[in-house]
Amino acid sequence: MSTPRTSKAGFGWLLKMAWRDGRASWGRILLFMASTILGIAAVVSIQSFSDTLKDNIALQSKELMGADFTIDTDKKPNERVTFLMDSLGGYDAREVSFASMASFSNTDQTRLVRVRGIEGNFPFYGSLETEPATAAANYQSNGGALVDATLMMQFGISPGDTINLGEISLPVLGALEKAPGSTSMFGAIAPPVIIPHQFIGPSQLVQLGSRVDYNFYFEDTTTNLELLDQKVDPILDDENADMDTHTSTSSRLGRRYENFGKFLNLVAFIALLLGCVGIASSIHIYIKEKLPSAALLKCLGASRKQTFMIYLLQIAFMGLLGGILGVVIGLLLQQLFPYFLEDLLPVSLSLSISVPAVVSGLLLGVLMSVLFALYPLLSTLGVSPLATLRKQDTQNALPKKWGWGVFALILLSIFLISLWLLDNAKYAIWFVVGIAITFAILSGVAHLFMQGIKKFFPKHWNFEARQSLLNLFRPQNQTLILILAIGVGSFLISTLYFTKDMLLQEATLADQQDNPNIVLLDVQSDQREGVAQTIEGNEMNVISDIPIVTMRVASIKGRSVNDLRRDTTSTINRWVLSHEFRTTYRDHMVKSETLLEGEFIDSASRQGVIPISVSENFARDTQTNVGDTVAFNIQGVVMTTEVKSIRTVDWSRMEPNFNIVFPAGILENAPQFRVFTTKAGSETVSAQFQQQLVKLYPNISVLDLRQLLSILQDLLAKISWIINFIASFSIFTGIIVLFGAIRSTKFQRTKESVLLRTLGAKGKQITKIVALEYLYLGALGSLIGILLSLIGCWLLAWFAFETTFTPSWFPFLVLFPAITLLTLFIGWSNSRGVIKSPPLQVLRRGS
């Protein structure tokens, strides 16, 4: 007789069987599916929003810039740049902008603002939005100022009041609501004030050391801007100028927002992963219950592949359905984002549906569900048809290598998805490693906990306490999965809290100690004495008086910057080649600096090699070491120096820090200005001092660090809100997983409870057993999560921020009891039915 051929039932039959088998379990399958919905919704909402934002930025690129392209430089354009601009047909509008103090006629308050002196019909695209609307059109001809709307509101300024900028006073014509080139995020630090260009000279605000930007705007719809950029940019680079087209600017801006989106996507992905762990656990029990059916199907003639496919199709369908629901919820959520992020967005958004986000949501739904269900699913391949005759033969042990194979496949998939989300292999690897470590530690602790209970079982405890402990390692227990779900959720929330604490702590540290809280910029040498007197006159002290000399890099290790710019193989970071460095000279190192390499030379003479000290960042970006030469162009004079030491600099300290420090005896006679730092005891003293200073020295800019800190806190609050919002998806997913895990074992627990009741246990005792079981799980899971996060943040503070970390008590005092009680509540409320089931009914069903 010939060898039997394979079964003729095709894919249609498999689908039919998957449907037939699944329809009786839809309730449970929907619950598994719910674990993934929120994670997918979070990923899709962020993905779709990021895509929409990117598209909007690209679409509104001209309105964002207000022109087709700009040429900008931070010093007055030289002949070459002027000639080049002329050859391009001349600019259509120009702008000079800088930070300055402003005061107003109606109030004594002063404020650091960004003055934008504009000439010409700028913007060519989009508009200056003002209140009244006519102000934008009239400010040039009427010789008035447009002042940032928020600033006007804060200071109670109305059109008609006067603004004082340096030596000039202008009428305020209107409130500036929106202008190309100004974002509300940076506007909060120095709100924009637009004035006609002709008043810049008379204001006398542009002096030595002033950080001034010169922008020239071009309207040109005919030229190929990409080609022009390629041609002109290298020439402008040589002159320390830069050309930006509306497309390059918008793509740069898009990338910046994309990075934030990528970070949020990871937070969302964690929610999805947590849901997947929930799937793996629930499917494990689901498939275990299906194994007798799988054995019977094999007995009736289904092949191993067919049996496996029936359940695989069920899971894939469940994943697809979860994907569809997740996508729908994600797209709805996306509608909320513009409200949360209003102040942080550079463009007005018209929301659309991103097809790639939708497709990725659906694919993620199917892929992640199948992947995480794969290991339990494989047991359908191993089940023997003999199980129809012998119950103990339900499961043929799966070869260990299958388990490792699935584990490797899951890790690989997580890596590939993170790579797709982050677009950076290194970060993706770190993410996978981080996730694996977190999950491994949580599982390890759960395992140790169970082993510990077995080994040191508290035999003297009362019956309820002992029984609830025993429940933690009953067959098909969900202890591991519950500790994972609770632990990852607690880990995420407390990490967010600790990180926010750390960032704010860094910023507030300066305020707590005897550190400066006011920085005076652009103090001219001849104003030095007067400024010091004003400070002391307000019963404050000059904490530091730092000389600043501006310079640019002329050559590195003998190669000129122009040569380095043209060398496409050079890996020297480009920014150092055109940056104007503010350097200082002194004979000592300061608190924020630590010597890393070489010797800090305190003084030198101009005869012979000039020894300098550079920051670690500068050494890395210029690829220099101790002994290398770097030449600087100090306002026309080229000075060759040798790197004698490399310092690490704590840039997070809110005080003037420097990349390059010269020794005493070299730059004393170079053109320079000074930076003063001082500390005001109160806001009133600070305000009074600033008013006085602005009246006496209008060119000096005052950085009020306290104000800056409150802006930073506002910004952090906004950002952390959105991070918390996305992280909350993990929490909700955790709750669903918790719910699913409890439901999966409901019948088992019902049987146990009924047996206990049959043997005489009271309802109250069973309630106590259930409550204690979930209390242990909630307390253990949340405590491990919080402790793990504490260790992680402590390491982060130690290695990345190099600071001491004082954690907030919030996670311990609020989060820990809240999560424990929530677990207890979910566990208890889901077990009420169990406690109330009539014993006979359950015993019959069980038999």
């Binding site: 060898t3 079964s7 003729k8 088998d21 059916s293």
Partner: protein
């Protein structure tokens, strides 16, 4: 006389912990085509193991089994599954219906696996024959034990098997229901001309078959025509 099942020097052991337990020891017999056959013996004598091996649900340690002209040893697990699907029918003590499928869906599974079109018509016909025409869309948990076993009988005959293995077919039924199911089993068997192999404790049932073998401690101790 042609045989449908030939068992030659069959031995099967299972390992339990570090120990090896011989469940069947050098068992040989032949089952003629079209006959009815019973395997009897006390609990733990190896009856069910023998049935499972004969139906290709498990593999032998030594010896050979030839079922419907094919030596089972030469077939892979999936090939044995196809052989079962095309030529073998099963009736189990605990009915073994797929709990998520209705009665008719359970009956047509073997036919659907063969790719038979319009399997439902055959299924309906068989269910009517076993007296469950009105209950074909009920799920197993909506049927009594006797009804479930009748659905199982309909399924067992749906693929027109050459041989039908029945493992304690009345073991889970009360006496009256058991008698009805037995009657139905023999009637359907007679009608289809199928070879019937029954594993049972019930000597009365065993006596209804043409041949009987008795196992004890994994050894064949009696091989004779039923009384």
């Amino acid at each position: 006389m042609a045989y449908i099942l030939k068992v030659d020097n069959l031995t099967k052991s299972y390992s339990s912990g570090n120990r090896s337990l011989t469940v069947l020891n050098d068992v040989s017999f032949v089952i003629p085509e079209g006959s009815s056959f019973s395997i009897v013996g006390p609990s733990g004598s190896g009856k069910t193991t023998l049935l499972g091996l004969c139906a290709g649900l498990d593999t032998t340690d030594s010896g050979s089994i030839t079922l419907c002209g094919t030596e089972l040893k030469t077939l892979s697990e999936d090939q044995r599954a196809v052989l079962r699907n095309q030529k073998v029918g099963f009736v189990f003590q605990d009915f073994q219906l797929l709990p998520t499928l209705t009665a008719i869906e359970n009956v047509v599974v073997p036919l659907e696996l063969q790719g038979v079109k319009n399997a439902d018509a055959t299924g309906r016909e068989l269910l009517e024959k076993v007296g469950l025409g009105e209950r074909m869309h009920h799920y197993p948990n909506q049927l009594s034990g006797g009804e479930q076993q009748r659905v199982a009988l309909a399924r067992a005959f749906s693929n027109k098997p050459q041989i039908l293995f029945a493992d304690e077919p009345t073991g889970n039924l009360d006496e009256a229901t058991g008698e009805k199911v037995t009657e139905l089993l023999f009637n359907l068997n007679k009608e289809a001309g199928t070879t019937l192999v029954i594993v049972t404790h019930d000597m009365e049932l065993a006596r209804m078959t043409d041949h009987m073998i008795r196992l004890k401690g994994g050894k064949l101790i009696e091989n004779k025509a039923a009384l």
